[in-house]
């Protein structure tokens, strides 16, 4: 009986809070620490489970994959995840949660095959309520693996190497004249 009343009150209180408009929705008001902690566990557990069956191709370390992944990264990701020599952008500063700077070494300590599967899954499916888009809607798995291959080497690249690797081959662009 008592528990019943307690549960009912909790429901009502939650409803009142949701409709009251008191929740600070702005991306510039951070979560409470406990909320961040809970959300991060929710995200990591979910991704770990969903990506557990994904096997990375064995030939990720190839020049062709780097060129395909590099050009795509520069076009689609660098605005949020930055590039060598670029410390911040409007998107990297304004989004909450902030997009991690992928030119730095590993943010999440996992062994490498798990990291590869995790990156692949995140790029393909995106992350809810974070600004990280699901790229699988418009890009096939091979193209996503190429981006994963590029991310593996991105922290080692200096600005010159980055520029050369990510430029769309001029040979191809000539054909569009």
């Amino acid at each position: 009986m008592r528990t019943g009343i307690f549960i009912a009150l909790a429901f009502v209180a939650t409803g009142v809070f949701i409709f009251s408009g008191l929740y600070p929705m702005g991306a510039d008001t951070p979560h409470f620490r406990v909320t961040t902690w809970a959300l991060e566990i929710l995200r990591e557990r979910s991704i770990a489970r969903a990506s557990s069956e994904i096997k990375a191709p064995t030939d990720l370390d190839s020049a062709d994959r780097l060129l395909s992944g590099g050009a795509d990264y520069n076009d689609m990701c660098a605005g949020c995840h930055l590039s060598p020599g670029v410390e911040s952008s409007d998107l990297s500063m304004g989004l909450y949660p902030a997009p991690p700077n992928l030119t730095n070494h590993a943010h999440v300590e996992l062994d490498s095959s798990v990291t590869l599967a995790r990156s692949f899954w995140i790029i393909k499916h995106g992350v809810k309520m974070s600004g990280m888009p699901a790229w699988g809607r418009g890009h096939d798995d091979e193209r996503i693996w190429n981006m994963v291959a590029f991310l593996e080497r991105l922290p080692d690249l200096n600005p010159v190497q980055y520029q050369i690797l990510t430029a769309r081959a001029p040979m191809q662009s000539e054909e569009t004249h």
């Binding site: 076009d75 418009g138 080497r153 010159v160 520029q163 050369i164 690797l165 430029a167 081959a169 001029p170």
Partner: protein, 115 residues
């Protein structure tokens, strides 16, 4: 048209527009903002440290040989060599300035091969 249909149509049209503009893009659709690889900068790199077994190095070579070949691919021999040198002396020609990088890329390749 009743209100619900109107709203549905408006939503549908908006969704369609948004999905069209952000649709799956083939690599070729990015060509409008194509940028030539800055191969001249490769010449300034420390060639001692270049390791051709490293995919990053191999990929850079591939990029710079591609811009060198300019659609003819590096198999056209002498004629192609001349073409490259000619381009080097007219590197003020903005439209074709990536050709100026050709001799540089060739020189880099030569040097790497010597090691």
């Amino acid at each position: 048209m009743n209100l619900v249909t109107k709203i549905a149509t408006a939503l549908g049209a908006t969704t369609l527009l948004i999905s069209l503009s952000s649709n799956a893009h083939e690599a070729s659709e990015h060509m409008k903002d194509a940028q030539s690889p800055d191969c001249a900068a490769m010449a300034e790199m420390d060639h001692e440290k270049m390791d051709m077994n490293d995919p990053v190095m191999a990929a850079m070579m591939k990029q710079c040989m591609a811009s060198d070949a300019h659609g003819e691919v590096a198999t056209t021999g002498d004629a192609h060599q001349e073409h490259a040198h000619e381009a080097a002396s007219t590197d003020s020609d903005a439209e074709h300035n990536h050709e100026a990088a050709a001799p540089v890329a060739a020189a880099v390749v030569e040097e790497v091969h010597q090691h």
